[in-house]
């Protein structure tokens, strides 16, 4: 029993964070917003770091890592607000595809869009080479019909009818939860930094207790959402019996943390926060988007309810890591 990351995991996180901090700056976000495009340099950079092959077995030329590492990467993608379809392709789709396709993803030569009836849209269908729909892998349609979204860097398209694949849903919800956590962390940092520099009444607004308490409340929410995410990633990695419940819990906790961080951050920024000028809005809108994607709070809460209240799932202090629940 050791709830810590390994050295390798910490190094992975640091490497991605360093790269994205340097290359995926707010200036890049603003440029992409104006140009309305994707950034091939970021895609290539992440592929170059091996993220495309993160979940591809070593025998096939990948890094052979698991869902804990995938979630670590996804948190960093959320922190930096990366919009390239790397999370859907490399962190969600890969294990559900055949070895040729996996190798192509590792090499950065295949982009996958994800279709599931729980979402009233499909993301990044325009740049996708194929669509994972139900259990089938389809070629991406020509000229998909765009759907208008509030998130300036997100590209959505009309849905494709398909069957529901629970594996896809669970993995995508886990990765969305991780991105929400990363986004919440970043919004807390943005607001905290602003509170240290903006002055009113002759002093930094961060010296006012009302501001302090707002931000502290976000810190608490985040602190207790993070371990829920890591337990869900661990369970998914182990194919534990309770994985869907743990993932739903992670999605709910991450959503709550991100929504609170977003509302708090805008309040701390004052009117500045209500503008398009301040970078905060990119993260805030991504939080709204991911909050609803891959099962919203109500959907995941119902799944928890069905187990905790409706079903016979054992609960209580001795069940947290009960070994029979850790193995599916």
């Amino acid at each position: 029993m050791d709830f810590r990351f390994t050295e390798d995991q910490l190094n992975l996180r640091e490497a991605i964070r360093d790269y994205l901090t340097g290359e995926h700056t707010p200036e890049v976000l603003r440029r992409l917003d104006v140009e309305g495009g994707r950034d091939a340099a970021i895609w290539d950079g992440l592929i170059g770091m091996g993220i495309g092959g993160l979940l591809v077995p070593e025998a096939e030329g990948g890094l052979g890592m698991g869902l804990i590492e995938a979630a670590i990467v996804a948190v960093e993608l959320g922190r930096a607000n990366v919009s390239e379809p790397i999370a859907d392709t490399a962190l969600v789709a890969t294990p559900l595809l055949g070895s040729d396709q996996r190798a192509a993803i590792a090499a950065g030569a295949l982009k996958v869009a994800l279709a599931h009836p729980i979402n009233p849209w499909i993301a990044d269908l325009d740049s996708a080479d194929m669509v994972l729909a139900g259990e089938a892998a389809l070629p991406a349609p020509e000229d998909p019909a765009p759907v208008d979204t509030v998130d300036p860097l997100r590209r959505l398209f009309a849905p494709i009818e398909c069957a529901a694949d629970d594996r896809l849903l669970d993995r995508a919800a886990l990765i969305a939860a991780a991105q929400l956590i990363g986004g919440a962390e970043r919004m807390l940092e943005l607001a905290t930094d602003y509170a240290k520099t903006r002055e009113q009444f002759g002093q930094p607004i961060g010296s006012f207790q009302a501001i302090k308490h707002h931000l502290a409340t976000v810190a608490v929410k985040l602190e207790f959402a993070r371990p829920v995410l890591w337990r869900a990633a661990y369970a998914a990695q182990q194919r534990a019996a309770r994985t869907p419940i743990h993932i739903s819990h992670a999605k709910v906790a991450a959503t709550d943390a991100a929504m609170l961080a977003a509302e708090t951050a805008i309040q701390v920024h004052g009117a500045m926060g209500y503008t398009y000028e301040v970078d905060l809005h990119f993260w805030m809108k991504r939080a709204w988007a991911l909050a609803g994607a891959w099962g919203d709070r109500a959907w995941h809460q119902r799944r928890i309810e069905a187990a905790v209240i409706g079903g016979g799932m054992a609960i209580g202090p001795e069940t947290t890591f009960a070994s029979e629940l850790n193995h599916g």
Binding site: F3, F224, E318
Partner: protein, 383 residues
Amino acid sequence: MDLEYTPEQNAFRAEVRAWMEAHVPKTPLKTLEGREGYDQHVEWERELASGNWGMVTWPEAYGGRGLDLIRWLIFEEEYYRAGAPLRANQNGIFLLGPTIMEYGTDEQKARFLTPMAKGEVIWAQAWSEPNAGSDMAAIRSRAVRDGDHYVISGQKTWSSRAAFADWCFGIFRTDSESKRHKGLSFILLPLDSPGVTIRPIRQLHGETGFAEIFFDEVRVPVENRIAGEGEGWNVAMATAGFERGLMLRSPARFQAAAKRLVALYKEHAATASPAAHEAVLQAWMDAEAYALNTYSVAATVIAGGHIGAEASLNKIFWSELDRAAHRAAMSLLGATAELRTLPDGAANIWQEGYIFSLSGPIYAGSNEIQRNIIAERLLGLPR
């Protein structure tokens, strides 16, 4: 990351479970806040000690078992699973014990820790004063040096369990010229010392959970001081860290409460408000989250890490989750919520729990103070 117990940890769990099943009182004890219930709880402390379960993480030399924090968490899980009574000696084992372990001399460890683990001496915390609550540096009670003794005068208040406890650990001003955090010392003394007067205070629920302590020239030997003269503030901050941090409220307590709350919800589902339904699920999720976070912090501490201001995150989370869970229970009970005794003759434990949960955001440093600490020390906002 490895979230599996080892076979040895599982065997330990089985051992605790078997012992608890054989020893936990079948009928609930009377409240810890009254004389009769207090005595029952002290008896239970001694029963625990007979099984060598007083404080499993302490070295064997001091009545413990020398186990790590993961085993402590397992112990707590089984403790609450079995519905075992509250710990009469929580101030001792969770607050003073770790403080003595860190700052005490070998002589003090030998003298105080073993009787604490064995439940032979029950401790009260004597820090707050009428004018020194959140602002503890405003403490005025004095300890004046007279040869190899201190002579203590002044008043403490809100001291939990002081009405019945044997000893207290207090903070007193040993340098009469000093101000604020300086010149304070951490001193232990028996509550039956000549010159000590205890006046119980009736709490919200009507029982005498805490008390005022008056000191009128009470003589205490100098060797009862923990750490150096004038170092009391730093020692107290370490104690407060233990209080807010890992041990005072183990996650098992809230997981057990969440489980009971789910059962209560099932009984009242037909009349439950949507908000109560939501709150029940949230209580289960939050208790889980608290447990997960505690395992995570425990792993860091086992690896040599230190908990600092992070303890404040913890204290806010458990106290607010506890209040929300009990508020949900009161809502589910509807018109029966106000009854002290339920129609079936049982005590209304949800009401008792709700009342107690209202104190969680106040004691151990109010949640406003915790938010200040988080903002200033973790987020780095200006004072």
